[in-house]
């Protein structure tokens, strides 16, 4: 009788983490509103991430597309210039995008997985294609939300995932001109 609670506590401590199912949270974003050709559609997260975080997405299409997906300390507007550390795809060329300053990372193709890795402490930024670094960005230590900006109707990304040390994270989206679908 006396040792029961101790055993229960011990078992609970041991089982707890093991029994919690990992979250699988993947999203597709597509521009369905706003002006076709204007940088006026966006989706961004309520959640912010203060620790090491990876944002990845799959390129759906390249022909004529123009969009940017990234991590930001704030969300001043729907334009891509408001994204602090992002990737911008423009008609088959991928760029790093730091508040509108674009640096070419080379050609991109459909089905490639591109990602931004922010490592803490220090806030180092890495822009990656298929888990291989293409360029280092400017470090940023702020808590970061997920941010995006889309230009043309029908432009889309899929497989968007936000991963931290605890696994994938469910995102609460605020969308303006963007249809967000949980995959």
């Amino acid at each position: 009788v006396k040792i029961g609670p101790r055993i229960g506590a011990s078992i609970g401590a041991a089982i707890g983490p093991v029994s919690s199912a990992p979250v699988e949270a993947s999203y597709a974003l597509e521009k369905t509103g706003g002006t076709n050709g204007g940088w006026d559609a966006q989706a961004y997260s309520t959640e912010t991430f203060a620790a090491t975080v990876t944002l990845e997405f799959v390129v759906d299409n390249t022909v004529g597309d123009a969009y940017s997906v990234g991590l930001s300390a704030d969300n001043p507007d729907a334009n891509y210039t408001g994204i602090d550390r992002g990737l911008l795809q423009d008609n088959g060329t991928m760029y790093s995008n730091e508040n509108g300053a674009l640096v070419s990372l080379g050609a991109c193709a459909a089905d490639e997985v591109w990602s931004i890795v922010r490592t803490m402490p220090g806030g180092a930024i890495s822009y990656q294609k298929d888990s291989v670094e293409q360029a280092a960005g400017t470090a940023l230590e702020s808590a970061l939300l997920v941010d995006s900006s889309f230009r043309f109707t029908g432009d889309s990304v899929s497989g968007l995932r936000v991963t931290t040390a605890s696994g994938e994270n469910e995102i609460t989206w605020t969308a303006d001109g963007i249809t967000v679908t949980e995959e």
Partner: protein
């Protein structure tokens, strides 16, 4: 006959190798595939991908003056000859005297397939290339007065 390369917009490279970004303030409808070119030489690498026949469609605004727009081919490897090479003999002009280019625009003309545009009229040019076994192709555009263009490509086996 199959579609070797789906229709696509072509992103130009400045002669210094810089890849251009679509114009965010284009005057064309939607602006998709539209690039603003300054006074310089630009190269539009065409994804021929083995297509033996292909179509190149250039639309220009009324502001731009194009000194020349020329289809060029190359079968050397990209690792040896860049998309923006201007070394004599590396890229070959395709300018037969019998060339036909469809044109629209009062000041859009061609001579042996080389298109020129005098500023003042919007218009376009359309090259239809057949029987071309070259591994690579590009459209070289020399701009005299800056303006906007949209270039599309479609290839077939």
């Amino acid at each position: 006959m199959t579609l070797a390369v789906n229709r696509c917009y072509i992103t130009p490279k400045h002669s210094d190798g810089t890849v251009q970004v679509q114009d965010s303030d284009a005057s064309f409808t939607t602006g998709r595939g539209v690039f603003t070119l300054g006074v310089a030489t630009y190269y539009f690498p065409l994804p021929v991908g083995g297509a033996s026949m292909f179509d190149i469609h250039l639309t220009h605004d009324a502001v731009i003056a194009i000194t020349s727009a020329t289809v060029e081919t190359c079968s050397h490897a990209p690792s040896d000859v860049s998309d923006v090479s201007s070394v004599a003999g590396e890229w070959m002009d395709q300018d037969p005297s019998t060339a036909f280019v469809a044109l629209v625009g009062a000041t859009t003309t061609h001579t042996a397939g080389v298109v020129a545009v005098t500023a003042g009229n919007a218009g376009g040019a359309n090259w239809q290339i057949s029987g071309c076994p070259a591994a690579r192709a590009r459209l070289k555009v020399v701009v005299g007065t800056g303006g906007e263009v949209r270039v599309s490509f479609c290839g077939k086996d």
